[in-house]
Each structure stands twice: as structure tokens, then as C-alpha cells.
Amino acid sequence: MRRRLPPSLLAGGVLVALVVLVAVVATIWTPRNPTQVDVVRRLSGIGQNGFLLGSDQLGRDELSLLMAGARTTLLVGVVTVVIAVAVGVPLGGLAALFGGALEEAVMRVSDVLLAFPALVLAILFAAVFRPGTVTAMAAIGIAFVPSFARVVRGAGLQVMEQDYVTVARGWGSGPLRLMVRHLLPNVGSVIIVQATVAFAIAILAEASLSYLGLGTTPGTPSWGLMLAEAQTYLAQAPLLGVWPGLCIGLSVLGFSLLGDGIRDLLDPRLVERMAQT
């Protein structure tokens, strides 16, 4: 039963694969050392002085910086999503399993957190702790917890209504067994979709924070930081702002499309149609 893959899945997959590939390559090899300063050859244009995409205001190789920046971006995405999944999924699962006061508590706390914009939380974190990649990741991760808790609870409630859960309860399956055996496997697809979308938002959030000087600190390659630095030289070297912007845009687009594609692929109606064949 081969079906056509959603186009957004293909487009998103290609973009994401590209970002991942670049980030992996950057760990082993970049055209030049991305942190090596060469003030004499600063602000070179494309192809000048052996800089493929030119050099920045300190004479660092733009291409190497972009490649190294992909690593930072992916790291931020992975760590924030892991934090959000590790905290949000069990909370949402427990809320669906037990209901009652526990569910109320989880949902009301997540309402409060949801009402708090992720960026504001990150700024708060940067003010309280030291601004940096780690602080930004922690803040963005925590800001994502409620969205995971909500979708897992929602999908989990549907699972709990199924007759196979009733049967399992009849044998005396405890909450832990219901969660591991039935609830989590059946909400897995929802978690994957949510994680991809969260990944996209996390990339954007990290770039924004670094641009504002609240995220990654100078010295570590970061697209948001490059964008901020390029602003000063926009008149002399407008392309310096374009490259990181393009990278941010394309990776956010890639992860968003991938999320949409996976959602289409796992659409409940499609799943049902498959089940009926």
C-alpha cells in the first residue's frame, strides 16, 4: 500500500537533511577556521581573497561561520526539544491517566506558562542567570513544556477511552503499565509532530535572542549573532546580513514543512482509511 508522500514532507525533509548535513560536516571540516580573525582582509566580497562567501567585519570566513552556526542552531533545537519532551510528555500523560486534581493542576500551571511568551521568559532567564546558549536553551525548553503537556494529554484522553484500555484495566493493569504499554506508543505520532514544530520555533527563538544579545555570546558562531553584527556594516556589505537570514529562514521553513508533512502523513483520517483497507 504505497501512497504518495505529502509534498511538504519531501520539501521539509530535504531542507532539514541539508541543515543536518552541513552541521555534521562542520564538526569535521570547514573551508577555514571560523574563529580565525584576519583584520586586513575584512569585509571581502564574494570570492575575494579566497573567501567563498566573503569575510565579515573581523575578516572571518563567512561560509565557515555559517556552517559552524548550523551546529549551534541544531544543538539548540535538539536540547530544547529534549527538555520540553522530557518534562511535558510525562506530565501530559499523567494528567490523562489520573484526571481529577492532578490533571487540573497540570493544566492550570501550563495555562499560566502558556500565557507567558517564550521570548519574555528567555529575557527573564538571561537577566537572572548569565546570557548564553545554555540559558537560552533552558528558557526556550521550559517555555515549550506546556504545549507538549497539552497535546499529550489531549491525545492521551482519547487513548484512555478506547476499549483496549478498559480490557487492560479489567486485568488490573496499573497506571505505569497503561502509560508505557498503551498511552505513550499511541501518542508517539503526536509527539513527533509537536517536536518538529517546536524545533522550528526554537531555532527562531535562539536567533532572536542572540540578535538581541541575550543568547549565544560573541565568540561562538551563531546565525542570530551574525545577523546582529552585520547590521552595523549593512551599507558596506549588505550580503553579510542576507546569508545568516537566509539560513535561519530556510531551516525554520524546513522544520515547519517537515512538521506539516508528518502531520499530513499521520492524519487520523488517513490512518483510519489505512485501517479499513
Partner: protein, 260 residues
């Protein structure tokens, strides 16, 4: 019937509270099952009929022990209700976890109940018993037809070697062409394992073939309880008469009590 019955249901009432319609409204209650008395002996087969909302399914949930009755008592005289009372639901799509293979589904009760059985032998026995090929073991529920899925659900119910099988509208969700097969299967398994059977249906013709005794439920109460044969020939409650008249027939026969 000198020994005490396997299930002894006495004066059982179950209410459910409806959610408030507004903040100031009182919570309304509905009585799902009201003052029900029932006995079930080993190897008995009892049919529960009545239209939707009559409390049949609620009564099954109470027999399974998922929740306690609000009033009255349900005594189970066997040894271990969780193992000995198993259930088969109406819609096998909702009753089988889509993320588990047939082998995992069928053997799950043995794992949860910590029964020591040679798993692979038992699996083959169960698949044979319900007429599924052994190759089904590693496949997922959505790869099967409705009738086959119901066979999987029946195999799971049989796995812990139950004494009582509860069946909640076991063929209502199935194509008419496979209904008879599943009903025959239930019939054969009941005889083979000496199961007591409680079969819930809104369809009297389904119950007629499988059950020695029929209890008619209406608005939560058991309004009539008789041997199958006498229920069909001499129904006493007006609601039963209405149910009997509702059975479609191909050829005209005099109905038990002509309505007009």
C-alpha cells in the same frame, strides 16, 4: 442448581452524574442500572437484551468489576475474578491496541496477570482455537478484516482461561456475512471450554441462538427473565412483546401476540 451461583447479583443500582450544564445548575444524575437481580451459574448462557441506554453495557462493566455498584451487591464465587471473567467488545477496532502485534495483544493478559504459561505454545493454541492462521501473530490489527479482528479479541479473552465470558454486542459492528461465523465460534468455544456466557445484544435473534436464558432490560431494570423458549412463546412484559415484534421476518408468521 443446588450449589450457589457463580455470579450473584442482588439489588444492584448504578448511577452516573452528568456534568453541570451551567455553574449554578445542579448536577443531574442518571440511573443506568436499577435494582437488578441476576444469577449466573457455571456453563450458563444468559442473554441481555434491551434497546440502547437500557443499562446492558453498564451491567457488564459491573460484572467485570471495573467499578463498584452504588447499591446492592455483586458476589463472584469463583477464585479470581480478574482472570476468570473476560470481556469481548462490540467494535474490535477500538478494542485492539493498534500499536501492538497480535501476539502481544493476545498474550498481554498473561503478562499482566503474571500467569506462568509457555507463551508461544499458548499463542498457537489460542490462534487455532479462534481459527486464525499462526502467521497472524506478528501482524498488526489493521491488517485484518473486522471479523478477524473480533477473533483476535476473542483469543485475548480466552488467554487467561476464563470461566465467564462477557460479550457486549459482539457482532453488531461486523458485516452481516461474518456475523454468523463469529456467533458460531462463540457457541463452539462456549461448549468446548464450558464457559458461562453473558451476551449483550439489542437483537433478539442473535441472543436466541446462543442463550438458554434471556433477561430483558428496559430503562435500567430487568423487566423480564425467562428461559429462551418460553420468552419467545409467552412473553409477559409489554416491552418484551414490542421487542419480539421488532424482529424482521421474511415470511409472515403469527406473532406471539398479534398487535392489532
Amino acid at each position: 442448581m443446588s450449589s450457589s451461583p457463580l455470579f450473584e447479583v442482588r439489588g444492584v443500582t448504578k448511577r452516573y452524574r452528568l456534568p453541570r450544564t451551567s455553574v449554578f445548575a445542579r448536577r443531574r444524575e442518571i440511573v443506568a442500572v436499577s435494582r437488578v437481580d441476576l444469577d449466573l451459574n457455571d456453563s450458563d448462557s444468559l442473554g441481555l437484551v434491551g434497546d440502547s441506554g437500557a443499562g446492558k453495557s453498564t451491567l457488564l462493566r459491573l460484572l467485570l468489576g471495573l467499578e463498584p455498584p452504588d447499591e446492592g451487591s455483586i458476589r463472584y464465587q469463583g477464585e479470581w475474578r480478574r482472570r476468570e471473567v473476560q470481556i469481548v467488545f462490540q467494535d474490535p477496532t477500538r478494542a485492539l491496541d493498534p500499536r501492538m502485534t497480535v501476539a502481544e495483544i493476545v498474550l498481554e493478559p498473561l503478562r499482566v496477570l503474571r500467569l506462568r504459561e509457555p507463551m508461544s505454545t499458548r499463542l498457537s493454541e489460542l490462534l487455532d482455537a479462534v481459527g486464525l492462521p499462526r502467521a497472524a501473530a506478528d501482524r498488526y490489527p489493521h491488517e485484518f478484516s473486522g471479523g478477524q479482528r473480533q477473533r483476535i479479541a476473542i483469543a485475548r479473552a480466552l488467554a487467561p482461561r476464563p470461566r465467564v465470558l462477557l460479550a457486549d454486542e459482539p457482532v453488531s459492528a461486523l458485516d452481516v456475512s461474518v456475523r454468523a461465523q463469529i456467533l458460531n465460534l462463540l457457541h463452539d468455544l462456549r461448549d468446548l471450554y464450558g464457559l458461562a456466557l453473558v451476551l449483550v445484544s439489542h437483537d433478539l435473534s442473535v441472543v436466541r441462538h446462543l442463550c438458554d436464558r434471556i433477561a430483558v432490560m428496559h430503562r435500567g431494570e430487568v423487566v423480564e427473565q425467562q428461559q429462551t423458549q418460553s420468552l419467545f412463546t409467552a412473553p409477559t412484559h409489554p416491552y418484551t412483546v414490542r421487542l419480539l415484534e421488532a424482529i424482521p421476518r421474511l415470511r409472515w408468521r403469527p406473532s406471539p401476540r398479534p398487535s392489532e
